[in-house]
Amino acid sequence: MIALLLRDLKLAFRAGGGFGLGLAFFLIVTVMVPFAVGPQSSLLSTIAPGVLWLGALLACLLSLDRLLALDWEDGSLDLLATAPLPLEAVVTVKALAHWLTTGLPLVLAAPFLGVLLNLPMPGFFWLVISLLIGTPAMSVIGTFGAALTVGLKRGGLLLSLLVLPLYVPTLIFGAEVARRGATGMEVQTPLLMLAGITAATIALLPFASAAVLRINLR
């Protein structure tokens, strides 16, 4: 399992691995927002938590179609399925690798981009916390979507359509935590909901992903 994680991380950082793609997209979206909505700092600080969350979510989505498709194309997925590793472990490790190469950099970049959007001071802490809790769910749900669409030509569009509705609860509660945090309100309820969603997806979805992968590999 560790070998698979290390290989995926190595692949992500090698040429053409796609590391930084999500990060660059996140950066572009947040930098463009002030140009689009105007420079009034009060307006920007109102929408900052939502924009940052939406940007992070779409950036996560961007790299999902490569998550399993590359392994499927070169045959490693077939070989992994016949290896001693259970497929549940394979998809979990794949999701973890996706989070480490896409989700975690977004979490770390978010505070700096928050400055660009004039995010209120108390909001930074809650933005990072909510992204830290929310992004693993996005990787796990994304892996499920990737498992559903693996083997389809141009499956990327279908993948986005399948995964985006599943991202909605995470987006609602995650952005709510950041928004409430920024305005100094109580964050406990949305934070617990967000953490609950993440915990449930991590606990359940690897089994679903492995099951659909088995069917797709036939």
Partner: protein, 204 residues
């Protein structure tokens, strides 16, 4: 370690391709799978490897014993030859890749990226992967595609060594590898093993 297949029926895309197939693969033996294109050789190997369920019939002795090599080699172009092999060795819990590098003469290529290898060299690396799995039953799907005469010999030697160590191999191929084993001809209406002596290897 004996693989026993009884009355196996398999499907490809919902259409039954082979029906009532029975054979036994004993340790130290190779079984050469022959048949025209589209008859279901790949589907049979995928079914035995556990990638798809059989329609009916029994497969015994396959659980965690099979190393499967498909048409594609499962190589990552941006990883070196050593990194590719080390990864598969770690997945299968074996850690010594040197014998595999030696058997397929990959030592000189060890630090090259797999993406820069020729088709035949990639195939050799893909076959070297079989050696690091440490599994007794090899399932090989057209292993000699894009190999030159010398590499085919390398491969045949590797299989012979594997058989000598008590392993077994089921090989779907159209060429004569000169191995000790039977031919399982899965052409229409003849899904029964027959001895290799009947086989005319002259068309190689």
């Amino acid at each position: 370690m004996t693989l026993t297949v009884t009355d196996l029926s398999i499907t490809r895309g919902g259409v039954p391709v082979l029906e009532g197939l029975s054979f036994q693969l004993l340790p130290g033996k190779a079984l050469i799978l022959r048949g025209p294109n589209g008859i279901g050789k790949t589907t049979l190997l995928r079914t035995l490897a556990g990638l798809q369920p059989p329609l009916e019939g029994k497969i015994e002795g396959a659980e965690d014993q099979i190393a499967y090599a498909s048409h594609s080699d499962g190589l990552k172009p941006t990883l070196s030859v050593t990194e590719n092999l080390t990864f598969w060795a770690a997945v299968f819990g074996t850690y010594d890749i040197q014998p595999a590098l030696d058997a397929f003469e990959l030592n000189e290529l060890a630090d090259r990226h797999a993406g820069n290898l020729s088709a035949g060299q990639k195939r050799r690396l893909g076959l070297a992967r079989m050696l690091v799995t440490g599994r007794p039953i090899w399932m090989l799907d057209e292993p000699t595609v894009s190999l030159d005469r010398n590499a085919v010999q390398m491969f045949a030697d590797a299989v012979r060594t594997h058989l000598g160590q008590g392993g077994s191999a089921l090989i779907a191929t159209h060429i004569d590898l000169g191995l000790d084993g039977e031919v399982l001809d899965v052409g229409p209406n003849k899904a029964k093993p027959k001895p290799i002596d009947d086989f005319d290897g002259g068309f190689l």
